[in-house]
Each structure stands twice: as C-alpha cells, then as structure tokens.
C-alpha cells in the first residue's frame, strides 16, 4: 500500500498559505489587525512544532488546524469570566422585554409583524442582508462566537459548549435570545 506523505516547506508558507489563512481568520473574527496577528502567530507556532508534522495531512490542513485553535482561543478570551457571565445574564434578563413575565405572551411592543422579510424580491433581500449584518455587529461577543461556530462551521452543540465552557442550558438561552434580537432589529430598521 502506498500512502502519500506530505512534505513541509516553511520557506514557502507565506507565498502558498498566508492569504488563505488570512481569509479564513477574517471570516471568523471580522477584525483585520487581529486576523493578521493570528496568521503570524500560526506560522510562528507551527515552526516550533515542525518536527511533529507527520505528513498525514497536507501542510495547509495542518496549519489551518493550528489557526482554528487560536481562533477559539480568541472567542474564549472575548467571552471569558465576567464578560461571559454578563452576556448570559443579559440574555436571560432581556427576555422579559419580549414577553410578559406572568404568562409568556409577546409584549405589545415586541410582537412580530409582517414586514419586508416576507417579500421575495431580490432587491429587498439585498437590503435586508445589509441591515442584518449591522444587527449582527451589535451582538455581544459571546453570542456572535456561538453563532459563527454553529452556522459557519456547523459545529455540534456539544463541541461549542465544551470549547466555550458553556452549559447546554445557557447555550439555548443565548441562541433563543440572539434570534429574538436579530429579528426585532431587522423589523425595527426596516423602513
């Protein structure tokens, strides 16, 4: 049996993989300076463990795995300790804005109504996308990290919870609250 063994060529990394890794990072953290730092950190960290490269996966796959770990680290830092607690609490508390505390009915102010989102016109949809992007940028860091891991990388709920050190219950509260928030933000900014 012949197994392909991949080679490693650190002197070609920048030319071959830097743009790819940069695009990968920026799609997930949306901050150019931080994405640059992550690419550099990834290469420097990889140099330290070149001797551990076994050639079973391609160089790019190997580098991407290192970068991925660093991105989760950024998510974790952004949402660790006090910040995370505050984000979870915010999710729990603000639900009372949307629903009556006694019976769980929609509050008059927040009850969903039909608006442009129910339209199928591509021009309308494009405008909605722009608004949605702005609404997403206003989300707390932890909420957005969860959404990115779930909807960009299709990670399992268990994996997200263990990587961000969240309970399942907090995870679902945040998912629920994020969607309530985004939907309301879209309706509010839709003219």
């Amino acid at each position: 049996m012949i197994t392909k063994t991949y080679q490693i060529e650190p002197r070609n990394w920048v030319a071959t993989h830097a743009d790819y890794l940069y695009a990968y990072a920026i799609a997930r953290i949306n901050d150019e300076e931080q994405a640059k730092d992550l690419v550099q950190d990834t290469f420097l960290a990889a140099l330290q463990k070149v001797d551990k490269f076994e050639g079973k996966s391609s160089e790019r796959t190997w580098l991407t795995a290192i970068l991925k770990y660093k991105i989760i680290d950024v998510y974790r830092k952004k949402s660790s300790g006090l910040v995370a607690n505050a984000d979870v609490q915010r999710a729990e508390q603000e639900e009372s804005d949307f629903f009556e505390p006694e019976d769980g009915h929609w509050t008059r102010e927040h009850a969903p109504a039909s608006f442009g989102i129910d339209d199928h016109d591509p021009v309308v949809n494009k405008e909605l996308n722009n608004i949605l992007q702005k609404c997403m940028q206003k989300l707390p860091a932890l909420w957005l990290s969860i959404f990115t891991m779930k909807h960009m990388d299709d990670q399992s709920t268990d994996a997200i919870c263990s990587e961000l050190k969240l309970t399942q219950s907090n995870f679902w509260v945040i998912i629920h609250r994020t969607k309530l928030n985004l939907r309301a933000c879209l309706q509010k900014n839709w003219i």
């Binding site: 650190p10 002197r11 990394w13 920048v14 030319a15 830097a18 743009d19 940069y22 695009a23 990968y24 920026i26 799609a27 949306n30 640059k36 690419v39 550099q40 290469f43 420097l44 140099l47 639900e95 949307f98 629903f99 019976d103 769980g104 009915h105 929609w106 009850a111 969903p112 109504a113 039909s114 989102i117 129910d118 949809n125 909605l128 996308n129 949605l132 992007q133 997403m136 959404f147 990115t148 779930k150 909807h151 960009m152 709920t157 679902w172 998912i175 629920h176 969607k179 309530l180 985004l182 939907r183 879209l186």
Partner: protein, 91 residues
C-alpha cells in the same frame, strides 16, 4: 395549570422550541405542544416563518464571507517571510 396548557398560551416557550427545533432536536411531546400553540397563535406563526428565513440569511452571509478573496498586503508578507527565515536560520 398543567404543562400542556402552559405552552398552549406561552409564546416565550413556543419561540424557544422553534429555535431549538431549527438547529437541534425537540421531544415528541414538545413537538405536539408546539403544534397546538402554533395552530392557535398567528404571531408565533409569523415569528417561525421569519426566524427560519433569518437562519438561511445568516448561513448565506457566513458562506459568502468564508469565500471572500481577502489578501494580505505585500509589506506584511515580506515582513512575515523575514521572521520565518530568521527563526529557521536560528536552528
């Protein structure tokens, strides 16, 4: 009020189940409760339709940004190349 009756009138719980069902699993009992609620609640039916569409839009936005052609500037690359060469020459 029994648990079944509770959800029949509870939009908070119903929207929670709508979200859970979209990306995870809900139990058969929850599924039945949710259907009864949606049958009688037009506002949550609107919510369900809109939130499904929002999930689709979010996935599309993420997919677009994952495929975008972002490039590093040459100065940064040159500098980075230098740092890598330095590290390699140390050994």
């Amino acid at each position: 009020m029994g648990p079944l009756k509770k959800i029949v009138y509870n939009c908070h719980k119903a929207t929670f189940l709508i979200e859970k069902k979209l990306i995870g699993r809900i139990t058969l009992r929850e599924e039945i409760e949710l259907r009864i609620h949606l049958f009688g609640c037009g506002v949550c039916r609107i919510y369900q339709r809109q939130t499904k569409k929002i999930t689709g839009m979010i996935r599309q936005l993420f997919a677009d940004s994952a495929n975008s052609e972002k490039h590093l500037d040459d100065t940064f690359k040159k500098d980075l190349q230098g740092k890598i060469e330095n590290e390699l020459d140390k050994n």
